[in-house]
């Protein structure tokens, strides 16, 4: 039975709790089945209760499945416009997965980061200005969300490929931004100490 370590992020009454627990595939698959059974009228609620009582990990697995299903339901309208239809795939059309324009999304994202980062580093007058400048720029970037538009295809146009979209999105993610900012700040500190 395959199992692997994974991180479960769950909440407690006192706040967020992160813990690492083994979660095996069988538990996950059972949770999926129970979730699916609950979409029907004849769900065996006593059986579900017994399953939950058998192992505390079952509860966590079910929560995880339910949250994943929530995420999918929320993403569904966007996915409908991003992903190729099944008839497109079946027809073997040149689909979003093989679009030569694909690199543009990631390229634009990288260029945007560079454009932001260079003025940050060039800013004189101390770390506080660097920090504030970055925060302002980051907020602007977020509010306009044009990085997001770089990879999100406009309706009616041929969609861009998703592989680079993944890269663009990951560059765009907050934690990457934050690490880039930290790197910029450490470069600034080094430059200041040389002076």
């Amino acid at each position: 039975m395959a199992s692997f370590m994974r991180t479960i992020i769950s909440g407690t009454k006192g706040g967020a709790l992160t813990m690492t627990e083994p979660m095996d595939d069988d538990i996950w698959n059972n949770a999926l089945e129970w979730h699916s059974a609950q979409q029907q009228d004849d769900c065996d609620w006593d059986g579900f209760t017994a399953w939950l009582e058998a192992d505390a990990r079952h509860r966590a697995a079910f929560d995880e499945v339910a949250l994943l299903e929530d995420s999918l339901a929320r993403a569904c309208p966007a996915l409908q416009s991003i992903l190729p239809s099944d008839s497109d795939e079946a027809a073997g059309k040149k689909s979003v997965w093989h679009n030569p324009w694909a690199g543009l999304g990631a390229g634009a994202a990288a260029a945007a980061i560079a454009l932001l980062a260079v003025p940050m580093l060039a800013t004189g007058g101390g770390g506080a200005i660097l920090g504030r400048g970055w925060v302002r720029a980051r907020r602007q970037l977020r509010s306009r969300s044009w990085l997001f538009r770089c990879w999100r295809p406009a309706e009616g146009r041929s969609p861009i490929r998703l592989g680079p979209a993944k890269r663009a999105a990951s560059i765009w993610r907050t934690d990457h931004m934050s690490s880039l900012r930290r790197r910029a700040a450490s470069l600034w500190a080094r430059a200041a100490s040389v002076k």
Binding site: D46, L67, L68, G163
Partner: protein
């Protein structure tokens, strides 16, 4: 059919007294379910109390299986709590990210509106889901698309793709496993 009155298999009306009588009948089972579901008795009792209060606002209408209806309501109340915990955990995580960076001025952090952050999380989530789907093997990708996005049943997907129903289930299991990893890694 309405003359059958308040029974487990056919509750006359969804509103008020019918469900409340059923609630009284099944309260112990509901509480047992909730203790198993949330993991602690105190919270289970909170939920069962919340369920009782909600019963007053259930719109009138025939309900096929009153007992199952109560379990489903209880389940939905728990899921609301689980979702709220996730939202809170995400907000705290985002605040942590902002505060552990080189934040020169603490005042800047408060400028971020929680709603905008939630929206960003959702966009990030869509990007992750889309790329996870893009990386699925063809069978799992097409099955996922037809079942989850286009809303076809397992049987309809099986017919469309010319595979068995168990084939559809296997493809879906693969797809969900990939998505789970994409969203938790």
């Amino acid at each position: 059919m309405l003359a059958r009155g308040i029974r487990d298999d056919m509750t006359e009306l969804g509103s008020g007294s019918g469900l409340k009588q059923l609630y009284e009948l099944h309260r112990a089972e509901l509480l047992r379910f909730l203790v198993a579901r949330v993991g602690e008795r105190e919270e289970a009792e909170d939920v069962v109390q919340e369920l009782w209060l909600k019963l007053g606002s259930v719109p009138a209408g025939p309900i096929g299986n009153g007992r199952a209806y109560l379990f489903r309501m209880a389940q939905n109340l728990v899921l609301d709590r689980v979702r709220e915990r996730r939202r809170r955990a995400r907000r705290e995580q985002q605040w942590m990210v902002q505060e552990t960076g080189v934040e020169p001025d603490g005042g800047e952090v408060a400028d971020y509106a929680p709603n905008a952050e939630d929206l960003l999380s959702e966009r990030d989530e869509v990007a992750r889901i889309a790329s996870a789907i893009a990386n699925l093997p063809e069978g799992a990708r097409r099955t996922f698309r037809l079942h989850k996005i286009d809303g076809l049943s397992h049987a309809e997907v099986a017919t469309r793709l010319g595979i068995s129903k168990s084939g559809v289930e296997k493809h879906m299991a693969v797809a969900m496993k990939h998505l789970r990893r994409a969203l938790t890694d």
